[in-house]
Structure formats: structure tokens, C-alpha cells
């Protein structure tokens, strides 16, 4: 089995796949990529199934070297400095493009300039033991991924059997532009949350009118927002713990919303005013501290339609990439 060695770890780099849904009754969140769209696209471009594990890095990427030739794909936020150390000198590693890297050539990803996170996918996927059905790392509970923690220099990860699928070739610029378009949105579309009716009416227009800024307290567990406080409902302090959701917009006593992420606690004691729609979870996963963001209520039907639309765009894009850019 070929292996990848982590030479520099970057700021916070973990192994993630599409997570372990279905265990929240045991207090186990789904985890997985915070931007599943980028991971899936990267995987498809190197010919992996959507759920193969990749490396998710935050704000500053790792340096990685493989001991055999491998096809990789960089996806997610913009990493303009990403490069491969070729014998003839550094060669830029473009996004959403299958690139063959020779054994011993150092991949240096560097800072993520737009979007909070990026993904490095490799042909065959990174292989660590499955824990509760997934390779995803849950750092807060110390399991999954590589030893239940963020990667460090010197760590070695195996790669899986290469998938018997063609690697996509062609106009990856289109894929990169599409992902950039998705994550450049500063609007999180929401539907009403579990406790929406507790809030002083009319909660939804009030939330939609308020602008927020992403605070420094922004990680895989949740994104805390700053801005005009959202008024809390009467009696919220006496609330008991209820099951949570990725994307749930909790309003704690200080009125500054916390949008729960993929590593969220599975129950929470703050009232939930709204929930980010599935199609905008990739936007949530890409928010950086200091960015402005606002909410926009939509209907459940519009939310489902947005998700179907995004899925069909992803499918069309990968078909287009695979057929040398001739797509719709």
C-alpha cells in the first residue's frame, strides 16, 4: 500500500469523509467534511467514490509527500500558493484538476485565501480505520481519523486501492468557478427552527434583517456570530436539552447566534430560531472569521429544490469535466 507522509501539518488538518450519520442517539455527531460538496467534487475528479476520505485543512494547508505516484486533486477554498516540488522547480497545483504527483515530490498547499477550508483528495482515498462506520476525525472526542486527532508532522497515512474509474480530464476551471460561486455567497438560507414560534413575533423577518459578522470562535463544532442581539424568548433560561441539527441557529442568552457545525453536541439547551438549509451547509463550512453574513428565510420546498439543483449541477459538472469540458 502506498503511503502519504505529513511533512508540515498546516493549522488544523484532519482526515474527513462524509461522516457517520445515524449515531446521534449515543451523543455522536455526524462529523465529516464541513464542505461536503468540495470533498465530493475532489473525489469524483480523481475517480474516487464520493465518500472516500480526504484531508481537510483550515486556513493554512499541509505539506504532503507520497511514496508512490498518485493522482491528487485540490478542492475547496482558494490556495493560490499551492505547488508541487518538481525536479525542474515548483509547479502550481491548480484547483479541481487531477494532477499526477511522482513519488517523493513535495506538495505544499500554503494558505487558504478565500473560504476557510480546503481538501486534498488522492486516488484511492486516505485510509484509516473505520470507527462507527466512518474515517472522519472527531477531535473533541478523540476518535476516528488518524489517532482521533489533528495531523502532525511525521504522521503517515495509507492510501486505498485505486478506484477502477477514469480520472476526469479537461476544463477543471469550470468546476473551480462553480465551487467558488457556491462559497462566495454571504447569505445563509434558513427554514424556521424547532423553537421559532417561541421568539417574539415576527422572528423570521427580524433575523433576516440583521446582519452578522463571523467571530473568531468559528470551528467544526459551531460558528458564533456577532451583531445586533437576537431577542431571546421568555423562559428560555429554563429550557431543557433537545436534539440538535447541523446548521441549527441557536440563540444563547447574549442574543449572539451560534450556528452548529458538523461536530456539534447532539443535544443543546438553547432555543433554535432557524436552521440552515442543506444546500447552504457548504457555505457555512467555508465561513472565515470577520466575514459578513446574513440569513434569508425560504420555504421547505424551496430548500429541497435548491438541494436538488445543486446535486444536478454537481453531476453535470463532473460529466462535463470527464468529457473534456463539453457540458451543458
Amino acid at each position: 500500500m502506498s503511503t502519504a507522509q505529513i511533512v508540515e501539518a498546516g493549522m488544523f488538518t484532519t482526515v474527513q469523509d462524509l461522516g457517520r450519520p445515524g449515531h446521534s442517539a449515543l451523543g455522536v455527531p455526524a462529523s465529516g467534511a464541513t464542505d461536503p460538496l468540495s470533498l465530493r467534487l475532489g473525489n469524483r475528479i480523481v475517480g474516487n467514490p464520493d465518500g472516500a476520505a480526504g484531508l481537510e485543512f483550515t486556513l493554512d494547508g499541509p505539506c504532503v509527500v507520497f511514496d508512490q505516484d498518485v493522482v491528487v486533486c485540490l478542492a475547496g477554498g482558494d490556495c493560490p500558493d499551492a505547488a508541487i516540488g518538481r525536479p525542474a522547480g515548483p509547479e502550481r497545483l491548480p484547483p479541481c484538476t487531477p494532477v499526477r504527483v511522482r513519488a517523493g515530490e513535495l506538495i505544499r498547499i500554503g494558505p487558504v485565501r478565500t473560504g476557510a477550508r480546503g481538501y486534498l483528495c488522492a486516488d484511492g482515498g486516505f485510509v484509516v480505520d473505520l470507527v462507527m462506520g466512518s474515517r472522519s476525525t472527531l477531535v473533541s472526542a478523540g476518535f476516528g481519523g488518524h489517532e482521533g486527532r489533528a495531523l502532525r508532522p511525521g504522521d503517515r497515512l495509507g492510501l486505498g486501492e485505486r478506484a477502477d474509474r477514469p480520472v476526469a480530464a479537461g476544463d477543471s476551471g469550470r468546476a473551480a468557478r462553480w465551487l467558488a460561486g457556491v462559497r462566495s455567497s454571504r447569505v445563509l438560507r434558513v427554514t424556521p427552527g424547532l423553537h421559532a414560534e417561541w421568539f417574539p413575533a415576527p422572528a423570521a423577518p427580524g433575523l433576516d434583517r440583521s446582519g452578522f459578522t463571523v467571530s473568531d470562535r468559528c470551528d467544526r463544532v459551531g460558528v458564533r456570530l456577532e451583531g445586533a442581539g437576537v431577542p431571546q424568548p421568555e423562559g428560555a433560561g429554563r429550557m431543557d436539552s433537545e436534539p440538535t441539527e447541523t446548521g441549527a441557529v441557536q440563540v444563547p442568552g447574549d442574543g449572539r447566534p451560534i450556528v452548529l457545525g458538523v461536530d456539534r453536541p447532539t443535544t443543546g439547551g438553547y432555543p433554535v430560531i432557524a436552521c440552515v438549509i442543506a444546500a447552504d451547509l457548504p457555505v457555512l463550512g467555508m465561513l472565515r472569521p470577520g466575514e459578513a453574513v446574513r440569513f434569508e428565510h425560504v420555504t421547505r420546498e424551496a430548500a429541497r429544490k435548491a438541494w436538488r439543483q445543486q446535486e444536478s449541477e454537481l453531476d453535470a459538472l463532473v460529466r462535463a469535466v470527464a468529457s473534456d469540458g463539453e457540458g451543458p
Binding site: 450519520p21 445515524g22 449515531h23 446521534s24 442517539a25 449515543l26 451523543g27 455522536v28 480505520d129 470507527v131 462507527m132 472527531l138 473533541s140 472526542a141 478523540g142 476518535f143 476516528g144 427554514t191 424556521p192 427552527g193 424547532l194 431543557d240 436539552s241 433537545e242 436534539p243 440538535t244 441539527e245 446548521g247 441549527a248 453536541p265 447532539t266 443535544t267 443543546g268 433554535v272 436552521c275 440552515v276 438549509i277 442543506a278 421547505r300 420546498e301 430548500a303 429541497r304 438541494w307 436538488r308 446535486e311
Partner: protein, 231 residues
């Protein structure tokens, strides 16, 4: 009857809310009914204190129809007492050492209850508890059944680190920290058991609905169990 209500909590999940006294039993019944029914399109069923969350398959054919079926099953399970009812949970016995070194808050709780430390520990160990739900961190079970005299508010300021296995009290509940984390519950003792290990075939010692008893053990027995555990 408006005791049972289905609320859309996103476009991809509903919560069944069960109100009123005895809703813990109702929530157990709803979970059991939904699990036994094997509702297609429901991917995750999670109980909380007053509600059950049902995650629906993204892109499922008829989410609104699944929600209607959830409501029908929940009403039948709670109002009519139809369906499988609440399956009696297993009984789990948990050894706990109430030594001062493990239970920094036991003395304060004993004082407030007008008891000695030994009496307060015995009162906790003699209780009969039920796991209401799990949450906060993997394997953390929120248990009902704490004797009234031992009820205590959370710490004003949470500890930055509570050791794994610590047994705590908050309000009318007791619970065990599966791993070292920050925590605001008042700590009265510790168990040598590993209550959650994701790599075990059965990761969690506790499931919602389990009945729990504590067995008071000495420091020597704690050490013996803990050392046996690690090999």
C-alpha cells in the same frame, strides 16, 4: 389531544414534541414505535428531554408524507398506548467511588442536604435511575431519578477539566463524564468503567431507556477495576 406535535426543525428533519407530566415515558414510546416501524426515509432517531428528532433522507421522495406518518405513529404510541409501548431498558450497574479525591463537590451537596458525606453518597448510590437521553459529548447519559435532597444547581463557573469517569449532579439529574472535558456539573465521585469507547462493538455503556443503579466501591476496588481494565 394536543400532547403530541410534529414540528419541522429544518427541511430535512422533524421533532416530535411530547408535552406534559410523564413525557419521558411518551418519548421512549415514540422512539420505540419509530424504530420498530423502520420508517423508510428516516435516517436517524434521537431522543431529547421533551422531543425526538427524526432526520429525513435528503432527496427522499415524499418528506411531507413521512412527517405525517411520524405524527400518526407518535400519536398512536403516546395517546392510545398502542404499538410496542416502551420496551423496558436493560439494567446497568455502575461501580462508583465516592472518595473525596474523586468527588470535590460531595461535601457541599451533603451540607446543603443536612447530611454527612457518607449519607449523601449512600443516598446517591441507593437511587434508581433512568437514562433519559444522551448528548453533550459521545456517551454522556442524562439520568433522571436523583433523590430530591441531592438536587443542586450547576457550578456558576464550569471547571476547565473534569476527569473521565466523574459522576456529576446538575439540577435533578446525574450523569457520568465519558472523557476528560470542561464541565459544570457538581462532581461527587468517579467510576472506573470506560462508559464510551467508539472502537468497541457496543460503544456506549448506556442507551436511552436503560435503568441504572450505582454500587458504592472503595478506592482499592476502584484501582483494581481500573488496572484490570487497562490490562
Amino acid at each position: 389531544m394536543d400532547e403530541v406535535q410534529v414540528i419541522w426543525s429544518s427541511e430535512r428533519s422533524v421533532h416530535v414534541v411530547v408535552r406534559g407530566e410523564g413525557n419521558a415515558d411518551g418519548i421512549g414510546r415514540v422512539c420505540e414505535a419509530l424504530r420498530q416501524r423502520g420508517l423508510s426515509g428516516a435516517t436517524d432517531i434521537t431522543p431529547g428531554a421533551g422531543s425526538v428528532r427524526i432526520a429525513l433522507e435528503l432527496g427522499g421522495a415524499d418528506p411531507e408524507g413521512v412527517a405525517a406518518e411520524v405524527l400518526r405513529l407518535a400519536r398512536a404510541a403516546v395517546d392510545d398506548g398502542d404499538g410496542p409501548g416502551r420496551v423496558d431498558g436493560r439494567e446497568v450497574v455502575v461501580p462508583v467511588c465516592y472518595d473525596g479525591a474523586f468527588g470535590p463537590d460531595l461535601a457541599g451537596i451533603a451540607d446543603a442536604a443536612g447530611m454527612s458525606r457518607e449519607q449523601a453518597a449512600a443516598a446517591h448510590a441507593d437511587g434508581s435511575y433512568t437514562v433519559r437521553f444522551l448528548g453533550f459529548t459521545p456517551g454522556f447519559a442524562y439520568m433522571d431519578g436523583l433523590p430530591d435532597a441531592l438536587h443542586a444547581a450547576r457550578l456558576e463557573s464550569p471547571r476547565t477539566r473534569v476527569r473521565a469517569g466523574s459522576v456529576g449532579i446538575a439540577g435533578g439529574r446525574t450523569g457520568i463524564y465519558p472523557r476528560a472535558t470542561p464541565g459544570g456539573w457538581r462532581i461527587i465521585g468517579a467510576t472506573p468503567l470506560v462508559v464510551f469507547d467508539a472502537e468497541r462493538a457496543e460503544p456506549s455503556v448506556f442507551r436511552a431507556g436503560d435503568r441504572v443503579r450505582f454500587r458504592a466501591i472503595s478506592r482499592a476496588e476502584f484501582d483494581a477495576i481500573a488496572s484490570g481494565r487497562t490490562g
